[in-house]
C-alpha cells in the first residue's frame, strides 16, 4: 500500500466513523414524541350513557259510549288587531297558542267516536263579537260557542270578565272544563289568576323537575296517579314535559309527580299535584303532554283517552239546555233563544236537551 492509498483509506475510515457515530448518537438521543399510552375513559364507553331515542307509539282510545257531544277547544291563538291570527302561532312558533297538531291526539279520538270538535278562533275584536241571545254568554263570541258545547278544553288563560262569566255559567249548567296551563304563563299578565278563580283552582308559580328519573330531560317529569279515578284508569305513569303544580279549592288530586321531583322556586322536593279534578273542572299544569310526540311517551295515550271520556261524560252543558243538540251549525244563536239581557238563572230544561 503506497502513501496515496493509505491516505484514501484513512479518509474513508474517518468519514465512516463520523457518519455511523452521528447516526448512533441521533438514535440514542432522539427527542421525538414517544408513543402515547392508551388512556381508558370508561365513562365515555359506558353502555348506559346512550339514551334510548325510540319515539314510542300511541294508541288513544275511548271507553265511553256516550252519544255525540260537542267539545269546544280554545287553543289560545291570539288575534293581532284586524289581521288574522299570527300564522306562526298556528305552527306553535312565535305565538302563545298551541298548534293544530298539538291537539290532534285528543281531537281525533273524539271525532273517531262520533263527537264533534269545534275550535274557538277569535275573530278580530272577537271579544265583542256576536251578542248572544241567552244573556248567559255575556255577548261574547266564546259565550255563544259555549252555549252549543258540552265540554270546553282551553289552553288559554286570558279571558275578559264577560267571557269568564260565560265559562262560569257553562260550568253551573253542568259543562266540563279542562284548563291546561304551562309554567310560562306565570310570566304573563295576571289574567290566569282570574280564570283560575272562576274555575276554583290554583296554579303554583315555578316548574317541577326531576334530575334522578325523567323522560330525557329534567323538566320532562313522570307523574303517577294520586288515587283511583276515571282519569287515572289504566295509567301507570305519564310524562309532563313542562309542568307546574296545580291545586283545587275542593277537589281531588289526580296525578302527582314521582318521588325525587323538585319545585324550581324552592329547590325542595314536592309532591304537589300536576292534575286536579274538581266537579266539572279538570286543571292540568301542562299543555304539551298531548302533542303527538308526547302522546307516545309512557301512558300519555291512556290519559288522553281518559280525558276524552271525561269530556263527553256529561251532556247537560249550558247552551245545550236552551238549544237542542244539533242546533244551528254555523254557530249563530237561534232566533228563538232566551231574551238578551236576562240575568243568569237556572236554565229551563227542554226534554231533549240533556242527552
Amino acid at each position: 500500500m503506497n502513501h496515496t492509498e493509505r491516505l484514501a483509506v484513512a479518509f474513508v475510515a474517518t468519514l465512516a466513523v463520523m457518519v455511523v457515530g452521528a447516526t448512533l448518537v441521533g438514535f440514542i438521543s432522539a427527542d421525538g414524541a414517544a408513543p402515547a399510552p392508551e388512556i381508558e375513559n370508561d365513562h365515555y364507553t359506558d353502555e348506559d350513557l346512550i339514551h334510548d331515542d325510540t319515539p314510542g307509539e300511541a294508541d288513544v282510545t275511548m271507553s265511553s259510549n256516550q252519544p255525540s257531544r260537542t267539545v269546544l277547544v280554545d287553543p289560545g291563538v291570539e288575534t293581532a288587531g284586524a289581521a288574522p291570527a299570527n300564522p306562526l302561532a298556528l305552527l306553535g312558533l312565535g305565538g302563545s297558542g298551541v298548534a293544530d297538531r298539538d291537539i290532534r291526539p285528543l281531537a281525533n279520538v273524539l271525532i273517531e267516536n262520533g263527537h264533534e270538535v269545534r275550535v274557538h278562533a277569535p275573530s278580530a275584536g272577537g271579544a265583542a263579537a256576536p251578542p248572544g241571545p241567552s244573556g248567559q254568554n255575556g255577548g261574547t263570541q266564546l259565550g255563544a260557542e259555549l252555549e252549543e258545547a258540552d265540554a270546553f278544553v282551553t289552553f288559554d288563560s286570558e279571558y275578559s270578565e264577560a267571557e269568564r262569566e260565560a265559562i262560569d255559567s257553562f260550568l253551573e249548567n253542568g259543562g266540563t272544563v279542562v284548563s291546561m296551563t304551562d309554567p310560562d304563563e306565570e310570566f304573563d299578565q295576571p289574567g290566569a289568576a282570574a280564570l283560575d278563580s272562576t274555575l276554583g283552582v290554583t296554579t303554583e308559580p315555578g316548574y317541577v323537575y326531576n334530575l334522578a328519573e325523567n323522560d330525557l330531560n329534567y323538566q320532562r317529569v313522570y307523574a303517577e296517579p294520586a288515587g283511583e279515578s276515571s282519569l287515572t284508569d289504566g295509567v301507570d305513569r305519564v310524562v309532563f314535559p313542562s309542568a307546574t303544580p296545580v291545586g283545587a279549592a275542593a277537589g281531588s288530586e289526580a296525578f302527582r309527580p314521582i318521588e325525587g321531583t323538585q319545585l324550581s322556586t324552592t329547590r325542595a322536593s314536592t309532591d304537589a299535584p300536576l292534575v286536579v279534578a274538581d266537579g266539572g273542572v279538570i286543571k292540568i299544569g301542562d299543555a304539551d303532554f298531548l302533542s303527538p310526540e308526547n302522546a307516545q311517551r309512557a301512558d300519555n295515550d291512556v290519559l288522553i283517552g281518559n280525558l276524552a271520556d271525561e269530556l263527553v261524560s256529561s251532556g247537560a252543558a249550558g247552551g245545550a239546555v236552551e238549544f237542542p243538540v244539533g242546533g244551528p251549525a254555523d254557530g249563530s244563536p237561534p232566533a228563538d233563544g232566551p231574551v238578551v239581557g236576562e240575568p243568569p238563572e237556572p236554565p229551563t230544561a227542554e226534554p231533549d236537551a240533556a242527552t
Binding site: 414524541a33 365515555y44 350513557l49 339514551h51 334530575l211 330525557l216
Partner: protein
C-alpha cells in the same frame, strides 16, 4: 537533553506565564456560558393560558402547547391559567383529553382567574388540583341547547333527519351529550365532590369560597401560588416560568346568546362569515350576554344615545353588515 524539551526561545518561566494567560483568556470566554448553565433553574413550570370562549382555535393551541410540553425535557410541571365561561363541546373534550394526558406525566395545577365554568371546567377537571380565588366562579356542568322542535316537513332533503328531526330523538341526543359531560366530571372529581350526581347535574356555579368546600375546587390561591405548588410537586427547588399564550391570532371571538341559541362572533364589525351559530354548547349561560336579535343593519340605523330601542334598529335593517343589537333582556 534539548531534544526532550520544548524548543523555544522563551525561558521556562515565560513559557509558564504564556500558558497561564492563554488559559485565562480561554476561561474568560467560556466562563459566562458555564456560569449561565450552572446558575439556570433546575426546571421550568409552563403556564398555559386557557382564556376566552372555548372553540376550535383555542383547542388547537392548547393541544399543541401541551404536546410540546410533554416532549420537552425541561418542563417539569404545568399550570393552567383558566379564564373562560365555556363554549363548544368538542373543543372542550379535546382540551380535557390533552390535560388528562399531561397530568399523567407531570404535575398539573389549574389556577382559575375570574371564571372557569362549563366547557372551561371540563378542560381543567383532570388537573391534580384546582386553585381558585375567593370570588372566582366555577361549575355549570351541563349542556345548553334549545328544546328540540317538530317542524313542518321540508321537501328536497334525501332523508327525514337531513333537515329537521324527531323531537324525542333530539331530546335523547341532548341528554346523552349532557351525560357525557356530567359522567366525565364524576369520573374525574366524583371522589372530591361533596354533592351527589343529581346535585352536580343541576349545573350550578359556585364562588371560590364555596367551591373549596363542596369539592368543585381544592385550594384558595393565586396564580403564583399555583405555580409554586406545581414546582414543589415536581421536586424543583428553583424553577423558571414559561407562559404559553393560546387562542386564535385574530383575537378571541365574543359570544352572545339570542332567545334560540349561542352565537360566536369573530369580528367587531362582523360580516356573515364572522357569525357562527352554536346550536349546542357547554357554556355558562349567565356569562354570555343576551341580545334580542342578530340582524343586518347599516351604521346609520344604529341607535343613538339610547334613544332607539333594539327593535327600532332591527326594523331599519337595510345595511350590509351583520351585527348584534339589543341588550340585556331583563
Amino acid at each position: 537533553m534539548s531534544s526532550n524539551r520544548f524548543d523555544s526561545p522563551l525561558t521556562p518561566r515565560r513559557q509558564l506565564v504564556v500558558v497561564v494567560v492563554a488559559a485565562a483568556l480561554i476561561g474568560a470566554v467560556f466562563a459566562p456560558i458555564v456560569y449561565a448553565n450552572a446558575n439556570e433553574p433546575s426546571g421550568t413550570v409552563a403556564v398555559v393560558e386557557i382564556e376566552g370562549p372555548v372553540n376550535t382555535a383555542l383547542a388547537d393551541d392548547v393541544e399543541n402547547e401541551l404536546a410540546e410540553i410533554r416532549n420537552n425535557g425541561s418542563v417539569e410541571a404545568v399550570v393552567l391559567k383558566m379564564d373562560t365561561g365555556g363554549g363548544a363541546p368538542v373543543a372542550s373534550e379535546r382540551m380535557y383529553k390533552a390535560v388528562q394526558r399531561t397530568s399523567q406525566q407531570m404535575p398539573v395545577i389549574a389556577s382559575v382567574q375570574a371564571i372557569s365554568a362549563s366547557g372551561g371546567y371540563y378542560a381543567m377537571a383532570p388537573a391534580d388540583d384546582i386553585y381558585v380565588l375567593p370570588t372566582s366562579t366555577v361549575g355549570s356542568i351541563g349542556l345548553n341547547a334549545p328544546a328540540p322542535q317538530t317542524t313542518p316537513p321540508v321537501q328536497g332533503p334525501s332523508g327525514p333527519d337531513k333537515a329537521g328531526g324527531n323531537e324525542i330523538q333530539g331530546w335523547a341526543r341532548q341528554q346523552t351529550l349532557a351525560d357525557t359531560f356530567i359522567n366525565a366530571m364524576m369520573a374525574e372529581r366524583g371522589d372530591r365532590f361533596e354533592l351527589s350526581r343529581e346535585e352536580v347535574a343541576h349545573a350550578d356555579v359556585y364562588l371560590g369560597t364555596k367551591a373549596v368546600q363542596n369539592g368543585f375546587a381544592d385550594e384558595i390561591g393565586s396564580l403564583n401560588e399555583a405555580i409554586h405548588e406545581a414546582a414543589t410537586r415536581a421536586g424543583m427547588s428553583d424553577y423558571g416560568v414559561d407562559t404559553r399564550e393560546t387562542g386564535p391570532d385574530g383575537g378571541v371571538p365574543f359570544l352572545v346568546r339570542t332567545d334560540q341559541q349561542v352565537v360566536a362572533i369573530h369580528s367587531n364589525d362582523p360580516g356573515y362569515a364572522d357569525v357562527e351559530p352554536m346550536g349546542i354548547a357547554y357554556v355558562h349561560w349567565e356569562s354570555v350576554p343576551h341580545v334580542d336579535t342578530i340582524e343586518r343593519f347599516s351604521e346609520d340605523s344604529l341607535p343613538v344615545e339610547g334613544t332607539e330601542s333594539a327593535g327600532a334598529a332591527g326594523a331599519n335593517a337595510t345595511g350590509d353588515t351583520a351585527a348584534a343589537n339589543g341588550g340585556e333582556s331583563s
